[in-house]
């Protein structure tokens, strides 16, 4: 087919410069026989979306303002995201922690739990854990294999599963332990998603890690290897089909409005910006509304990060993270544990669900005071004394809660909302999977493979 190789390459527009858009672009550039011409259109002045490693002003110390961790599935099977990070030459650091602070005491294992909450609670937790493992095996978790007792329409919310825990103390322990991971309430998420978030604390299912020095290095490493044109501060307004049959994207920037034509368009946007995009034509409009309605189950995060002149907690608490009981259960990260060479201390609070929404409406000073008050008493005073700078990041509606009874669409329908009339319009997003970076990687890989196949069938631009 040499005559095809000289054809005009496909012109692909990717709306959204978050991990989904960047990963799709990278995979397309790597796998396509004829490298397509890719334009990434990003509304803000930065790429990376929810992967955001910021610096404090007082000192050049990094902290994770967005996605805090990545999931390591390599104990079960292939882990393409971890492989990508290794291929990019980025160092990783495992994140360990299994404790919850209850009444000023660390509950780090069953023995602590028995001492703090009683034997009945410990026995109930063991029973819940073992039943959970029976319900969902590591392989079923990894492959997202269907499990009728967890996935069925009548599956109900995770609250129904929690209700099976006889001991109220053990029930509250589980709720608090996974609340910030869920980013929503147990009553608003599915049995499966809730159980997955509980079981992921078992190393047989997965382990956590981060990119040493900041997760945003992953974004920087991808961008530095892309040939795609990245247009920042250009907002997409509408998507439709032009008279020539190609997909059109109307954009707005400081230079005014313009209309562009593409052979294929990938919508790599979170649900909220997707809602504000205008889709031309009744068919496309209806298909996209249906897609949005199916996936619009917002869940919320709030991140508080505080820089301290030293890591005063070391010696009494040495894990990378633990759970606090306040805010219905929130995660406390020792961000400075991610960089052993760092002299200063950084603590990060991750609030989720209703607490995140409620507190996001308060001023930063109040949020910070509440965050420090949530620490055990032996850390509170030093926290006030050693504090240098605080940062608050609100991620309201940033992820999906996967409600009970919700049925994921088949992969093709998930990624191609209007297959009949707009077969080259694709959707990529973490919300199509489990709201994680690993999920968005899977989504990008699926669409990139599909587009690569289309380009192989028609190596030149379809126009």
């Amino acid at each position: 087919m040499p005559q095809h190789l000289s054809d005009t390459p496909w012109d692909i527009g990717i709306l959204g410069g978050g991990p989904g858009g960047l990963l799709t672009a990278r995979m397309l550039e790597q796998t396509a026989a004829v490298p397509p011409s890719i334009s990434i259109i990003e509304a803000s002045d930065r790429v990376g979306g929810k992967v955001l490693t910021s610096m404090f002003n007082a000192l050049p110390v990094p902290y994770e303002a967005g996605a805090a961790e990545l999931y390591d599935y390599s104990a079960i099977d292939e882990d393409p995201l971890k492989q990508l990070i290794a291929d990019l030459g980025l160092p990783i650091q495992p994140l360990d922690g299994s404790s919850l602070i209850h009444n000023d005491r660390l509950i780090g294992n069953l023995d602590d739990l028995r001492a703090s909450l009683g034997s009945e609670a410990a026995a109930a937790l063991v029973q819940f854990h073992h039943r959970g493992r029976d319900r969902l095996s590591p392989r079923e978790f990894y492959e997202a294999l269907p499990v009728p007792s967890l996935d069925g329409c009548e599956g109900g919310s995770f609250e129904t599963l929690l209700a099976s825990i006889q001991s109220p103390a053990a029930r509250r322990y589980v709720e608090r332990f996974i609340h910030s991971d869920l980013a929503t309430e147990a009553s608003r998420t599915s049995r499966r998603y809730g159980l997955e978030n509980y079981l992921m604390n078992d190393p047989a299912y997965m382990q956590l890690y981060c990119v040493a020095g900041g997760n945003e290095q992953l974004i920087e490493a991808i961008v530095s290897r892309l040939s795609a044109q990245i247009e920042r501060q250009v907002r997409a307004i509408s998507v439709g089909r032009g008279a020539d049959g190609r997909l059109t994207v109307e954009t707005e920037s400081a230079g005014g409005r313009s209309q562009r034509s593409f052979d294929a368009v990938v919508l790599a946007l979170p649900i909220e910006p997707l809602k504000h995009l205008h889709f031309q034509g009744d068919g496309l409009h209806t298909a996209m509304q249906r897609h949005i309605a199916h996936h619009d189950h917002p869940a919320d995060y709030l991140r508080v990060s505080i820089l301290f002149d030293k890591a005063f907690w070391r010696g009494r608490w040495d894990d990378a993270y633990c759970m606090l009981e306040d805010f219905d259960g929130c995660c406390l990260y020792d961000e400075s544990a991610r960089d052993p060479a760092e002299d200063h201390g950084v603590l990060g609070w991750l609030l989720g669900g209703e607490a995140a929404v409620a507190w996001s409406q308060r001023p930063d000073a109040e949020i910070v005071e509440a965050a420090i008050s949530a620490l055990p008493s032996w850390l509170r005073e030093p926290a006030r004394h050693h504090q240098l700078e605080v940062r608050v990041h609100r991620w309201i509606g940033a992820v999906s809660s996967l409600p009970g009874g919700w049925q994921p669409l088949p992969l093709d329908r998930r990624h191609q909302p209007d297959a009949t009339d707009h077969p080259t319009l694709f959707v990529v997003g973490d919300y199509l999977f489990d709201s994680t970076l690993n999920g968005v990687h899977d989504s990008a890989e699926y669409v990139a493979d599909w587009l690569t196949t289309l380009m192989l069938d028609r190596p030149g631009s379809p126009a």
């Binding site: 404790s99 005491r105 780090g108 069953l110 190393p203 047989a204 040495d318």
Partner: protein, 259 residues
């Protein structure tokens, strides 16, 4: 034979100065026939650095003779509500009294596991000079060297025994910690991590593969030589018998021709 089997039981060490009332030392029997001394210090509300240091120094006193390559003793662990200093012969734990039994079991379990691994490593280290000396036997035997077979058989049995011990130990080493996590599981897991037990297990396995492979080859060569020698003898016996038969036949022919 386990290289550490001659370890003599220790006398109960005296309590170090600076540890609070209620502290005690227990002598725990170890699998190598020796003892492991465990200092148990009841925890108060937040340990003073002096108590922790006193316990650490007490463990450090015993470590001069111990060696595990680059691993420095004592190994210090700070777990949830438990502080532990470990060396092959002494450990110290600071925890609430209710955890002492769990800690004791976990320390005994790990100490025995580590001692067994160390014993295997010592056995392997002792086997390498023999391996070097026996290298030529993997190629072939002569009449003069055939007498070494019994000695090689002994060495083969020795490395196979080490391999068998390691195989049984590997099952314990690779067994995942219980979930939800228990204190004993966490102590075992962290100590295994800090003492690089999995890596040492893999390295020992690799070395034993080489040693077993070598002595296996020696056995094969010895067997080949013995069989070849027997075949040779048999061939000569047949040739001699055939020659005798031919001579007898010829003599018989000459005799009958004469008559």
């Amino acid at each position: 034979m386990n290289a550490d089997s001659t370890v003599a039981p220790l006398a109960t060490p005296v309590l170090p100065e600076g540890v609070p009332a209620g502290s005690r030392v227990e002598l725990l029997p170890s699998a190598d026939g020796g003892s492991h001394a465990l200092l148990l210090v009841p925890a108060g509300t937040g340990e003073s650095p002096d108590v922790v240091e006193a316990a650490r120094c007490w463990v450090a006193e015993s470590v001069a003779a111990d060696s595990r390559g680059p691993i420095a003793f004592p190994v210090l662990l700070r777990l949830y509500n438990v502080e532990l200093a470990w060396s092959p012969t002494r450990s110290a734990a600071i925890a609430v009294e209710e955890r002492f039994a769990t800690i004791r079991d976990a320390v005994v379990d790990f100490t025995n596991l580590e001692a067994e691994l160390h014993g295997i490593e010592t056995g392997i280290a002792e086997a390498w000079p023999n391996y070097e000396a026996d290298l030529s036997f993997a190629y072939g035997f002569t009449e003069a060297t055939l007498g070494q077979r019994e000695r090689l058989l002994g060495r083969y049995a020795q490395v196979m025994s080490l391999h068998g011990r390691l195989a049984r130990l590997t099952r314990r080493i690779t067994q995942p910690a219980p979930q939800p996590p228990t204190l004993a599981g966490q102590i075992g897991e962290r100590l295994r991590e800090r003492l690089r037990v999995e890596e040492r297990d893999e390295a020992a396995d690799g070395e034993l593969e080489v040693l077993c492979g070598h002595y296996d080859a020696c056995g094969q060569r010895a067997s080949d030589y013995t069989i070849a020698r027997r075949e040779n003898m048999l061939s000569w016996t047949i040739i001699i018998l055939l020659v005798i038969e031919t001579l007898l036949f010829a003599a018989d022919l000459l005799a009958s021709a004469g008559t």
